[in-house]
């Protein structure tokens, strides 16, 4: 019996007896998640926000961009306009509901984009080690030398101010944080005995990485992702606030806020509500991420 | 026994409360300690011996709590003492040293600062006097160049040195009672002997009483006058040290003795006690040792024996020595090789 046969046979046996590592870790994940109250609360809050962002726009009476009405501009909250109106007389409630989706979308998209690259880079770095590892990690160090939104600012200065460019800038800023964590977990997993055994049985690198290492490092990736969504949204809305991201008349929450500050003296509500929206999103992801970290990584707890 | 009794523990009960469940870690422990003598509390980890020690100074961590019994130290019941009173006793009249010298000293303060602190709290000594006394104490516990050591941080000292510092600190106020919780377990064998020697020596010099918590019968033989063997939160045998080694009665005591190497017995006769200590929240109904006992009968599994006097010097908690024993009447618990 050659190595390949043995390999095939062993995977076939595994399929019969136990779930695939992916399914197993997903089940395990769900079980742990259920036990942690704050992860649950955060999770429900996120789901609620996503539902509002998707369904909400169908129920709003006004159009977020085109329903201008200068007769009612800069009015405070009323039965007609729950969150008041802006300087074009547009309904702020409508704009915030529509903006929720844009802001969440930016957060998810930037995290997924940057996360995928970061995870790949981290796995390659951790799995192959040696010179590849040190070059990649030095590169990551360089990216990490720019604190907070500074890197995004620097990138925006090249790419120009727009929503897409903010997403790109923020996802580049995600790469090193994911890469570092994934590299560490990969290093820890790589040397486990059964990985050695797989290699001895002739499994290819790709197979080992995706079938065996990846499920094992999934937990830290998920934790990092949920916390990074908050960072991404904070940075993206901050850039929009500075006028470097979503441009008017986009109802992106940071952009509404940016617009609202021009009317602080007359109509503070324009800035109030989008900011509250951002805060609730960040709160949900922070609570969720904290809870996940506690649930998935008992070492970090206490 | 006509000596002055310094510590008299009666029916001590300490429990841990977790999620509505009471876990009885110490379940009715009693013993007496005469002045200037040493009692060994022996047992495997989980037997409740360390909890007993911590209970005496009321150092239990939440959710541990003393739920009953008396701890009479001289004329005072420590279970009823106020926080203030117990603080005045800690480190002053009763001192304690712990198992892990590596982690028991505060890493961010020098040896001197930590010794002076005790002296300041209990005797009001200032920095200068404290340092002088500290150097004396370090000298007393055999630390070379104490003047240099007193300015060092714990990480600059070896494990043995740190345990000496702990002893020096414990002795700072000439306590009447020293509780040593596995003081040598974490140390190398050669260092172990030195530390025990220091404790013995200082005990004689200051007429101090000692409670020696250990799992090691070798340590008991070297230091103790009396022994209380604990199992599952209860004392299963209580005797003076000679009797314990000469005529151990409880099968568990015998097991403990058989599991230490002796130079006069063939090595292949060393036998470990099979099985594990029962977890305190899942105690057997009858005798706690029954599941691991080679002589256990139905009676042992059903009913908990009481701690009875079987000879002038010995109390045992075992059905074998009672009139109700339903097993082999000729059973010999201590093997023939235990004659010394």
């Amino acid at each position: 019996m050659n190595a390949e046969q043995a390999n095939n046979q062993s995977t076939e046996q595994k399929k019969k007896k136990v779930d695939s590592p992916f399914k197993r870790s997903a089940k395990d994940f769900y079980k742990k998640l259920k036990k942690n109250k704050s992860a649950l609360i955060g999770g429900y809050l996120i789901i609620a926000l996503i539902i509002i962002a998707i369904v909400g726009p169908f129920f709003t009476v006004y159009d977020p961009v085109h329903d201008t009405d200068y007769m009612v501009k800069l009015q405070g909250p009323s039965a007609e306009h729950w969150f008041g109106t802006d300087h074009h007389g547009r309904d702020v409630f409508t704009r915030v509901i529509h903006g929720l989706g844009i802001t969440l979308g930016i957060g998810f998209f930037a995290t997924i984009l940057g996360g995928i690259v970061g995870v790949l880079v981290g796995i390659i770095s951790g799995y192959y080690g040696g010179r590849v590892d040190s070059i990649i990690m030095r590169l990551m160090d360089v990216l990490l030398a720019f604190p907070g939104i500074l890197l995004a600012l620097a990138l925006i200065s090249i790419l120009g101010a727009s929503l897409q460019n903010v997403v790109i800038a923020v996802s580049i800023f995600a790469i090193p944080t994911f890469a570092r964590i994934v590299r560490g977990s990969t290093l820890a997993t790589k040397n486990l005995e059964y990985i050695d055994a797989m290699r001895a049985l002739g499994a290819s690198d790709a197979r080992i990485i995706f079938k065996h290492i990846f499920p094992n490092i999934l937990s830290p990736i998920i934790v990092q992702a949920s916390l990074f969504v908050a960072t991404a949204i904070l940075s993206a809305s901050g850039l929009s606030f500075l006028g470097l991201g979503a441009q008017p008349p986009s109802p992106e929450l940071g952009a509404i806020l940016s617009n609202g500050r021009d009317f602080m003296w007359d109509a503070g509500h324009i800035a109030l509500f989008p900011g509250l929206g951002i805060m609730i999103i960040l709160l949900a992801f922070n609570v969720f991420g904290d809870g996940l970290r506690d649930a998935l990584d008992p070492k970090m707890k206490k | 026994m006509s000596e002055e009794i310094i510590l008299d523990i009666k029916d001590l009960r300490t429990s841990f409360f977790t999620e509505d469940v009471e876990v009885k870690a110490v379940d009715g422990v009693s013993f007496k300690l005469p002045k200037g003598k040493t009692i060994g509390i022996v047992g495997e980890s989980g037997s409740g011996k360390s909890i007993t020690a911590l209970s005496i100074l009321r150092l239990l961590e939440h959710p541990g709590k003393i739920v009953g019994g008396e701890i009479n130290f001289k004329d005072k019941d420590l279970t009823k003492a106020s926080d203030r009173e117990i603080r005045d006793i800690r480190g002053n009249e009763i001192s304690m040293i712990f198992q892990e010298p590596m982690t028991s000293l505060n890493p961010v303060y020098t040896v001197g600062q930590q010794i002076r602190e005790t002296l300041k709290v209990h005797q009001g000594l200032g920095k200068e006097q404290g340092t002088k006394k500290g150097v004396e104490l370090l000298e007393l516990v055999g630390i070379p160049s104490p003047k240099k050591r007193i300015t060092q941080y714990p990480h600059e000292l070896s494990g043995g040195m740190r345990q000496r510092v702990m002893i020096a600190m414990a002795l700072a106020c000439n306590p009447e009672l020293l509780i040593a919780d596995e003081p040598t377990t974490a140390l190398d064998v050669t260092i172990q002997a030195q530390i025990l020697e220091i404790i013995n020596d200082l005990q004689d010099r200051f007429d101090m009483s000692v409670i020696m918590i250990t799992h090691d019968m070798g340590v008991v033989a070297e230091t103790c006058d009396y022994v209380a063997v604990m199992y599952g939160g209860k004392v299963v045998e209580y005797a003076d040290v000679k009797t314990i080694f000469k005529e151990p009665k409880h099968p568990y005591t015998v097991g403990l003795l058989n599991s230490i190497p002796r130079h006069d017995v063939d090595v292949d006769e060393l036998e470990p006690i099979r099985g594990n200590v029962p977890s305190p929240n899942d105690m057997p109904k009858g005798c706690r040792f029954a599941p691991r006992c080679p002589f256990a009968t139905d009676l042992c599994y059903e009913e908990l024996p009481s701690l009875d006097k079987v000879s002038d010097d010995n109390q045992v908690r075992c059905w074998i020595y009672s009139e109700r024993w339903d097993g082999d009447p000729e059973v010999k618990v201590n093997g023939p090789e235990r004659t010394s």
Partner: protein
């Protein structure tokens, strides 16, 4: 220790080189000819060529980078493309404003965060603890630009107690510092709490109690000093992100600092100024991290248990 510092300093060199390469390429990756940005789109050809010559834009890229590096080391960042003034002349006064803002905010967050964290830890699960941790969670989730606007709305516009804009006077400092320092305070409070809770289970705390010390001495002398060690790291990292977060705060309160400068000049495509400002912040961030690393190592030497 000395070896450790030297090694860390050496490790810094590739990172700083990488940073300069990245910042250098900002200008070269951006679309558009710099000469056109300076002289305007409709400038005559010979003017453009003259400017290109002056900026050395026709030199090989490596030569250009070499010159850039030389300029950086001598802190000469060239002239602004907008104002034609030397960049360093414009930069330093604004740098000090941002630096002040960051330092004050750091002090504010340490002060508030430590007190809140200690109270929380000492009274674990009490009403005070739960409220503090809840407030900290909100503090962590509040975008500082929004917090700034709300503070301004309330204290400047509604109550008229504090000025809404500017930097310098004591009154002007209050709102920006709270705005910028709140998130750090929340982070420090959470860190202090968890670190304290971790420390109080250590063996040496039991030793301190066994010595007969009062609970106050046990907590404030024995536990706190150890608990602060991991907090040092957090404080250091916070200072770095404050420098960057200052961009938003400065924008809210119209403070003429480096953050506002960066944003204004990004919009004006004044690359030398943006390059210089970004570079300065990155270098400070890297140096602060180094300092934190060294101090952590130093403090940790004592608690290196095995």
């Amino acid at each position: 220790m000395f070896q450790f510092i030297v090694r860390r300093l050496l490790q810094l060199i590739p990172v700083l080189l990488g940073v300069t390469i990245l910042v250098f390429s900002l200008m070269h990756l951006s679309p558009g000819n710099p000469a056109h940005i300076i002289a305007g789109e409709s400038a005559p050809k010979d003017t453009v060529e003259q400017i290109e010559e002056r900026l050395g834009l026709n030199d090989p890229i490596l030569v250009q980078y070499g010159n850039f590096l030389k300029d950086v080391v001598t802190l000469d960042f060239g002239n602004s493309w907008r104002t034609s003034l030397p960049v360093s002349e414009e930069l330093w006064p604004k740098f000090w404003v941002t630096f002040e803002l960051s330092v004050y905010s750091t002090i504010f967050s340490i002060f508030l965060g430590l007190i809140a964290g200690i109270i929380s830890a000492v009274r674990q699960y009490s009403v005070a603890d739960v409220s503090i941790m809840l407030v900290a969670l909100f503090g962590l989730s509040m975008p500082n630009f929004w917090l700034g606007l709300m503070l301004m709305q309330w204290f400047s516009i509604n109550l008229g107690w504090l000025p809404a804009t500017g930097w310098g006077s004591a009154e002007q400092i209050v709102l920006p510092v709270i705005t910028l320092g709140t998130m750090g305070a929340a982070v420090i409070a959470r860190m202090t709490r968890s670190s304290m809770l971790d420390v109080v289970t250590q063996d040496y705390i039991r030793t301190a109690r066994a010595k007969g010390l009062s609970e106050r001495l046990v907590i404030y002398k024995h536990a706190l000093k150890n608990a602060l060690i991991p907090v040092v790291t957090v404080v250091g990292l916070q200072f770095g992100s404050l420098l960057a977060g200052a961009v938003l705060t400065e924008s809210v309160f119209a403070i003429n600092g480096m953050g506002k400068l960066i944003v204004d000049r990004i919009l004006a495509r004044d690359f030398p100024t943006v390059q210089a400002a970004v570079l300065v912040i990155a270098v400070i961030f890297v140096l602060v991290n180094l300092l934190v690393d060294i101090s952590y190592k130093f403090l940790n030497k004592r608690i290196d248990l095995d």
